[in-house]
Symmetry: C2
Subunit: 390 residues, 2 copies
């Protein structure tokens, strides 16, 4: 048996930033001390900075679904009319949460691989001026498709509704002008472009969204936006925070600030572009060619081949974990991630591995074909040599 390094190449959890991981070793810290408040404050301030927003930013000890729940349970009331854009598993989650809390949701559903058009949202809003909120994924990770949240923001901001964006995989992989585009609530997660393990979620909240808390009546306790805002201003969290992850986040945000958020986004976009080029060059088909996201590229398995074989062989041959399709897409597609601490050298290896696996399973690809496509994008992008860890 030869050496097989473990490589986590999924759209979340993503490859970890080592100094952030090591920072967790200093977790023998108490959360009601000035030492910890310093780290907590720096996380809140740096998140605000890299998200490029003037809105309040809050943090919770929970996974991303927790912030999705918090948005609905804090800003809405039973029976409120909302619009849900559903283009995949995560859009379906918005619909589920709306249902769990008794909202009256108009679910705009499109087939997997496609996206809801801004015009559809505009029409739905025009038909019913009572609509209080629109829910969407910036990047629908299950299909590798991206919504046009800029146009949606423009449409929603003209109405009384707020736009709630699950940007858990969108943040750090696509430009998101929170204030400029009218993205009233924008949700992120630690285990995505932020390069640390899961367990933290954060969100930005616009003044228009805050206004809804004055009339919202759904009950909630653990997820309390108003209380968390007050705690955050004192450099604390309302309940015991996930200290180890806060220390990790403070470290990864330092790196992201050095790198520049726009460079982080460009990194994901170049890798996505290179992956699409490689897939097409190898004769594969993309699952969401019309509006590809840069968080992950979903590729169709060749006709007659179960995508699970590709996933399994990445693990058995190269110790690498890539993602299968979810739900009904399982077996049909596989997903290569680009978000977080992921670089061109990772992608060279992934595409070379893919060439080997395809060949071994009866889909002939001339060795080097896909990798060459990646190398060409690398060269064209003129990625400059730079120090490791910034």
């Amino acid at each position: 048996m030869h050496i097989k390094k473990q490589r986590l190449l999924t759209p979340g959890p993503t490859p970890l930033y080592p100094p952030a991981l090591h920072a967790m070793m200093a977790s023998d810290i108490h959360h009601r001390t000035e030492d910890f408040r310093k780290a907590y404050r720096s996380c809140l301030a740096d998140l605000k900075e890299v998200m490029g927003t003037s809105h309040d930013v809050l943090l919770f000890a929970a996974s991303g679904t927790g912030a999705m729940d918090a948005t609905i349970s804090n800003l809405f009331s039973k029976g409120d009319k909302v619009v849900v854009c559903s283009a995949g598993k995560f859009g379906e989650r918005w619909a589920e949460i709306a249902k769990a809390y008794g909202l009256d949701a108009n679910v705009l559903t499109v087939p997997y691989g496609q996206v809801v058009q801004p015009g559809q949202v505009e029409e739905a809003l025009a038909r019913d001026p009572a609509i209080k909120g629109v829910f969407v994924q910036a990047s629908e990770t299950s299909t590798g498709a991206a919504h046009d949240v800029e146009a949606m923001g423009r449409a929603v901001s003209k109405t009384g509704a707020i736009l709630v964006v699950d940007a858990i995989t969108g943040l750090g992989t696509m430009p998101l002008d929170i204030d400029g585009w009218g993205l009233d609530v924008l949700i992120g997660g630690s285990q995505k472009a932020f390069m640390i393990p899961p367990g933290l979620t954060f969100l930005s909240i616009s003044p228009k969204a805050w206004k809804l808390t004055e009339t919202a009546t759904l009950p909630h306790y653990y997820f309390n936006l108003k209380k968390e805002k007050k705690s955050g201003e004192a450099g604390e969290s309302s309940w015991t925070p996930a200290t180890s992850l806060i220390l990790a986040l403070a470290e990864s945000l330092r790196y992201i600030k050095q790198l520049g958020m726009s460079k982080l986004v460009e990194n994901a976009q170049l890798l996505a572009q290179a992956t699409r080029a490689a897939a097409l060059r190898m004769g594969l088909e993309l699952f969401a060619p019309g509006s590809p996201a840069a968080s992950a590229t979903a590729v169709k398995a060749p006709a007659g081949m179960d995508s699970g074989i590709i996933v399994k062989e990445f693990k058995s041959r190269f110790g690498a974990v890539i993602a299968n399709g979810q739900g009904s897409m399982k077996g049909q597609i596989f997903r290569i991630a680009h978000l977080g601490y992921f670089d061109f050298a990772d992608l060279f290896a992934v595409i070379a591995g893919l060439e080997i696996i395809l060949n071994a399973n009866g889909f002939p690809v001339k060795y080097g074909t896909g990798v060459a496509a990646v190398e060409e994008i690398y060269e064209r992008a003129a990625v400059k040599p730079q120090p490791v860890h910034a």
Copy 2:
């Protein structure tokens, strides 16, 4: 300046078990893989084993307050009648959550430092047979007092109500016979006796408590007990789990199993006993002498001395973080923790440090007085020499 090691000696977060901390470095793992399911399953099985229960055990990525919220939002309906035992800050939290969800709560309040008597609960239940739940802290960490949950369990199990026990600091510091005493829901947290950082909470749920889910109507989504039970049976969590903390928990549970849960409890109880003896020998007064908890001992500052001075000097002289009183108890008491990865050598140092700080602030104590009391308990308990890390 001399060396001052950082020492976290608070009742949570508690001193960390190093191998568990190091296990977090392997967080480049995906949560929908067999490798991770193995760790998740072992956490669920080992929790069940060390908690000594046949009830279902569920895990959430959240701090302990999340599981408190989950219990109310999943098992009750608006207007349900409940009894809350309030003997400190955490009892007040039960009352707050009940209020947030619109329950009709009869709050049995006793002064800080005292505990609600089982007879009071019995009377309240006898007066109103419609009561559906009783909420209590096994150990009220804010005052260092312990409730008699055994007697409460006996009383509540004769009625239609369930007993919900916040054992976040009670678990691992006092005997808790979940099945035998009728503790229908019992809540724990990662950052207490389990010796790892905060961010995970878990709870056991009896068949009697599960029955309430059939009629409960409060809305919830992130905290969904039924969904989480189903996910847990498949070795997964419903949402992305806090992988780094799961790996740490798997490791600390291995240690706790080797040690034996009863030994972990005895450890805390010996340290608590020794701390009380030392405090009294030095001429200090205990804050909850009637029903002291073994999670933490609350000691009154000497007359005329602010307890904040003691907390501050522990930090400035010895790099050690001990806990002040919370709320109105701030300045009046200080708290020495005993739970988790805490041993006699830690306590020798804490009591010696306390002797020095008291002397330096005008409360004369003959050096060695308190430490001798601890040494005597150590000798009497005949703690056997044993290998480090089991």
